[in-house]
């Protein structure tokens, strides 16, 4: 379980996150919705410890991220937004490199790579250099390399952005498989249908605060609208949240 407790983050005078609390349970897929600049990426960066919070704490299975980042990171599989590959390594070598950095036993690496390559339909690109990969091929490689060490929790920053249908389906299949294996998944997205199809729970973040948290039906109901998109727009543009981002 990932527990976010009263996290605040400011950059100079800009408040990016304001007293955010959130729990992500095992075996659950949580969608994180928010407009550009709402604080989604900042929240994720705090969760994998590359930014440190101004206040509050985050624990991953009881391990405080700020205090023991490397132990916490072993439990996390992260696809940051805009993740770059090593262009002169093949897709497979990219995945293997991260498996080694995660400290996986050498003997376990080939089979872990094979199963991800099969699951994501990457057979045709596995032995090609990443230079010249399409967006979808890059995304699949980055995703495979993020979760090759079989982490308990998966954080994905806009994983299906700009992907074609086939690839999106592959990603969706993968996330369902992870959920079935008892892992928790947090992914941010701008795509409402994606969130509706995949998520057990939706968290809407606006102006650095969590403004809704619940199942799709609950969030829609809370806003008094008829669709998730309407609800999201309504929740994201409420006046009282506006001041926070520029306080």
């Amino acid at each position: 379980m990932i527990k976010i407790d009263n996290i605040s983050k400011r950059f100079d005078n800009v408040v990016a996150l304001d007293q955010v609390s959130l729990s992500i349970n095992d075996g659950e897929i949580v969608g994180l919705l928010g407009l550009n600049g709402a604080g989604k990426s900042t929240l994720m960066r705090l969760m994998y410890g590359l930014l440190s919070p101004c206040e509050g704490s985050i624990t991953v299975d009881g391990v405080n991220v700020a205090q023991q980042p490397d132990i916490a990171r072993r439990q996390l599989g992260v696809l940051p937004d805009n993740a770059g590959l090593y262009k002169r390594l093949t897709a497979r070598e990219n995945i293997e490199y991260f498996a080694r950095l995660q400290g996986m036993p050498e003997a376990a690496i080939p089979s872990a790579c094979d199963s991800l390559i099969e699951l994501l339909g990457m057979e045709s690109i596995a032995t090609r250099y990443a230079d010249g990969f399409s967006l979808g091929e890059r995304m699949k490689t980055a995703l495979a390399r993020a979760i090759v060490h079989d982490p308990a929790h998966i954080l994905l920053d806009e994983p299906t952005n700009g992907l074609d249908v086939i690839t999106t389906r592959a990603v969706r299949r993968l996330l369902h498989a992870q959920k079935a294996a008892g892992k928790s998944v947090l992914f941010s997205s701008h795509l409402m249908y994606e969130v509706e199809n995949l998520c057990d729970r939706v968290v809407v973040i606006a102006g650095g605060r969590i403004v809704a948290d619940g199942s799709v039906a609950e969030v829609v109901e809370q806003s008094g609208r008829t669709s998730l998109e309407e609800a999201f727009v309504q929740l994201s543009t409420i006046k009282e949240h506006q001041h926070v981002a520029h306080a």
Partner: protein, 386 residues
């Protein structure tokens, strides 16, 4: 930890070997530096041969006996029509000799007025000029001696001092003048060998946005930096080996004996030079990584790192301009110490054994500080997301 260190090291090596751009940047300079060096030396040897064997002297006026003496001594004397001063001043001629306009009657015993005309700012003139001047002095004292003898006196009366010169420099030491640039060339190749690779390992990670995913792995910054550093050191050493190999071939093939020098750089000297360059490679790789991580892009990194290539020039000019000021503390200053020791090794003189310990001991704190700094920078939010 060793496994992840090995993983970073191997990954960076594979990445580097597949990087055509950085490979060119690393392995071409030694080739063209040695080629230009050889061409330069070869040309100098050619010029010197030419200069001593074929001195032309343009003259005006008449002094047949003097001209005969000069010609006897392999000077090509050519009568010049027109203003000799003007011709030398404008650079048309390197030098000239004016003699009395009218031939002198036999038996006149007054000094023969001749003027050597040259432009001292012209570097080419000094060798031939000295030769001609010496011949004229010789002519003068020879005639003086004849005159004295004709009066029944000993010619020794007009030479109260007899001077002889003895050059004790060995032929190999004379070669040192020619080889002064070689340590600079070797140090530069060690300083720049892995520039492109280091830039790709640091600024490249930022540019292609692979730094963030890399740091999300539970790998300490120190392991990442040291792995990258080891790879950069290995790559630098391969460049240094290539440079040394090409340089040994060039030194063996160039006809130094035609200049009266002997240049013998044996296998043990080459190995000692390599051993001296190893700490330089370690310093260079560490500084490159520290500068590279501060750069946003590959091109930025190259701009900052090109400063490192200029570093060996400082000791070069110090040693060049004040060759006499060598003292043992200099061995503790990286690059400055290397400059003198490499030169000594090339001249076959050998270096004090503790010089190598000094190189290693002075390199370690620099390497440690640079790597520590780079490791710290790596995890700054400004670097990851900037």
């Amino acid at each position: 930890m060793w496994r992840t260190l090995k993983a970073v090291f191997y990954k960076e090596l594979i990445d580097a070997v597949r990087d055509k751009r950085a490979l060119r940047l690393a392995f071409l300079p030694p080739i063209y530096m040695v080629v230009f060096f050889s061409l330069g030396i070869g040309f100098a040897i050619h010029l010197q041969k030419e200069g001593n064997s074929n001195i032309q002297l343009h003259v005006t006026g008449h002094a047949p006996e003097l001209v005969a003496w000069l010609e006897e001594n392999q000077i090509v004397v050519k009568p010049h029509a027109g203003d000799l001063y003007h011709a030398v001043a404008t650079g048309e001629l390197d030098m000239g000799l004016t003699m009395p306009a009218e031939p002198r009657a036999a038996g006149v015993k007054a000094p023969l007025p001749v003027t050597l005309v040259y432009n001292a700012a012209n570097q080419n003139v000094h060798g031939p000029l000295g030769r001609v001047r010496n011949l004229i002095y010789q002519y003068s004292s020879r005639n003086a001696a004849i005159n004295v003898m004709a009066r029944g006196l000993s010619p020794e009366l007009i030479s109260p001092v007899s001077i002889r010169e003895t050059n004790v420099a060995s032929e190999q030491q004379m070669g040192g003048l020619i080889l002064a640039g070689v340590p600079l060339l070797l140090l530069m190749s060690a300083m720049m060998g892995s520039m492109g690779f280091s830039a790709d390992m640091t600024a490249g990670e930022r540019e292609r946005r692979s730094l963030e995913p890399l740091l999300i792995n539970p790998t300490p910054s120190s392991v990442i930096i040291v792995g990258k550093w080891l790879a950069a050191v290995c790559l630098t050493l391969s460049v240094v080996v290539l440079t040394l190999l090409l340089m040994s071939i060039a030194l063996a093939l160039l006809p130094f004996n035609e200049m009266g020098f002997r240049v013998e750089v044996g296998v043990s000297a080459i190995l000692a030079i390599f051993w001296a360059l190893l700490p330089v490679a370690m310093i260079a790789a560490a500084l490159q990584l520290a500068l590279g991580i501060l750069s946003r892009s590959f091109k930025d990194a190259q701009t900052y790192m090109s400063l490192l290539v200029l570093l060996p020039m400082i000791p070069f000019f110090i040693v060049m301009t004040s060759p006499g000021i060598f003292s043992s503390w200099q061995l503790w200053v990286p690059l400055l110490g290397h400059q003198s020791v490499l030169k000594a090794l090339l001249l076959g003189e050998g270096a004090p054994a503790w010089a190598f310990s000094a190189f290693w001991l002075s390199a370690l704190p620099i390497v440690a500080a640079a790597l520590w700094f780079a490791g710290r920078q790596l995890r700054r939010a400004k670097i990851i997301y900037g």
